[in-house]
């Protein structure tokens, strides 16, 4: 399996070359085009209830798709829904990554995707919801972001503060606390913003250069409201 980012920048696409018999997991709807040798299996990971709970608890789409080169080698083109960068990580089998639910685009068949319940304070205030994806195993992982992806490298005990809505993925060796960015609990709660994550290394934190929530709010002001 070989992957390459096409048209890097705001509107990228990933080309994944699959050898005969190889397969990848992709977010449902991510497939743009593929060779006729590729079969698309909409598999419910973790059974019906698992898929159902993923849908309702993480707000994520119902299925992961499995794209399998079952009739000979071929290629698959994948793209995310939102404009933004794509980054390819090679998981070494030891490093594990937490990925906020919209950040996952695709992964090698050997990588393991689990829905993970966050601690209460992180779930309530973190902005990624109560469930995030925990991705482990060995192989290629493709993440996408809203805007550009920026990698923050943290040495042991080095700290960094990130606005929670800009988080894409972070390694499991990091830890973080949720902190209030401003004073005033009511304002923080009702606006859904105003919380930041204080990360502590070692490890990597991937952030996106645009905030989907703020962008949505910005767009909404141009949508006419009938008076």
């Amino acid at each position: 399996m070989k992957s390459e980012i096409l048209y890097p920048g705001a509107f990228p696409m990933v080309r994944v070359d699959l050898a005969a018999g190889e397969s990848i997991k992709a977010e449902s709807g991510a497939m743009v085009a593929c060779s006729p040798t590729i079969d698309i299996e909409s598999k419910m990971e973790g059974g019906f209830l698992g898929a159902l709970s993923r849908k309702f608890l993480t707000g994520e789409k119902f299925f992961f798709q499995t794209l399998r080169a079952s009739r000979g080698s071929g290629e698959v083109l994948l793209a995310p829904t939102v404009p933004g960068e794509i980054v390819i990580l090679e998981l070494d089998g030891v490093n594990e990554y937490m990925v906020q639910k919209d950040g996952f685009l695709a992964g090698a068949d050997a990588i393991v995707i689990e829905s993970k319940m966050q601690s209460l304070s992180r779930g309530l205030l973190g902005g990624e919801g109560f469930f995030i994806l925990k991705i482990s195993g060995k192989g290629t992982l493709v993440l996408n972001s809203f805007g550009a992806i920026h990698k923050i490298e943290l040495k042991p005990d080095q700290e960094y503060i990130v606005d929670n809505s800009h988080l894409v993925a972070w390694s499991a060796t990091t830890s973080y606390n949720i902190e209030k960015a401003t004073s005033g609990w009511v304002a923080s709660f009702t606006s859904g913003e105003g919380f930041v994550c204080r990360f502590r290394g070692p490890g990597l934190v991937y952030i996106q250069s645009r905030n989907p929530g703020s962008f949505g709010a910005w767009i909404r002001q141009f949508i006419p409201v009938s008076e």
């Binding site: 070494d92 030891v94 490093n95 601690s119 499991a172 060796t173 830890s175 009511v186 070692p202």
Partner: protein, 377 residues
Amino acid sequence: MISNALCFGNEFPASGAPCVVQVEGDGLTIIFESEGTEGAREVILFSALTVSAGGLDHDHLVVKWAHALGERTLYLKNHDVIRAFRQAAPDQLNAPFEQAAERVRQVRQRHRVLWAAVGGSILALVLGLWFGADLLVEVAVSRIPVEWEQKLGDSAYRDFLAHQEVMKEGPAVTALGEMTQRLTEQIPNNPYKFEVTVVKSDVVNAFALPGGHVVVFTGLMKKADSGEEVAGVMSHELNHVLQRHGLERIVKSLGLMTAVAIVLGDQQGLVGMMKQVGVELLTLKFGREQETEADVKGLQLLQRAKIDPSGMIKFFERLSEKDEGRMEWLSTHPMSTARAERLKAELAALPKKSPEPFTFEWKQVQASLGSQPVVAP
């Protein structure tokens, strides 16, 4: 060999160097497998180590030691390695390790307790809301200022009028004005300014919007046998407004979270949401309890205004019978004999008052609407 740990240090990448950790009798052997450090091997004695718990869920064993190139940190998650470490390491190392493990247990315990508490409170909240939702809605509604209600009603009213032909003057408008006048005079501390609009349409309907707009269709007036019958419907509709039934329905349909937000003082967000539902106000269906309340309060209001309440009952009874007309009012006001019976009982309990007739002649009002008075079946 398969890597089972990550080693961090100045010369390693920020994501750590995958390595194999082997636990020996007197320390750890670390074998690096990543490029550039191929085959590199490091032996560290237990005496040189400090340990703690770390990582996102405090489930990593973190081992630190001083190295010629700076401090090094090892993150271990593999259970077999952790077990071997605990067996081989001397007590003074295990002591902080036990503490770390205890902290992990505590954190997990705390999470469990917290989640249980959250589950419990959600259950309590659901149960509480199941039984207390109406109370919550009431409290929320009572906190919404009348001006907002008016704004909401105004926008729905304007939307509605855009597609309707309004009767601006004439005997029907005058008659409805008189009815409204007599009814509203009897409402103490009335915060609403009721405005009645007559819409030219054969639809048998009348409705009130939050804030005080009352709309009566000419179809309903043609169907009525007397001014008292129309006044009965008016009195009913006015009481939907006075009892803020529309707001109650909106808050209910917007959801309990909104109600909670209003009670807690966040009324700003509501304006937008209410605007969104503004159009739906026109098709708003009230609950059975609200209808009964509007009926009973409407009857009492008629009585106070010295308008014969039997007109209201008669009209309701007639509406409950089959009719070929487009009885829109019935779609939002399901009639039943029980409803009329209830009003009769209610009326019997009220002190008798001699009604005062209206100044207009109903047949003339109906004639001005351009059709023959409808004869009761």
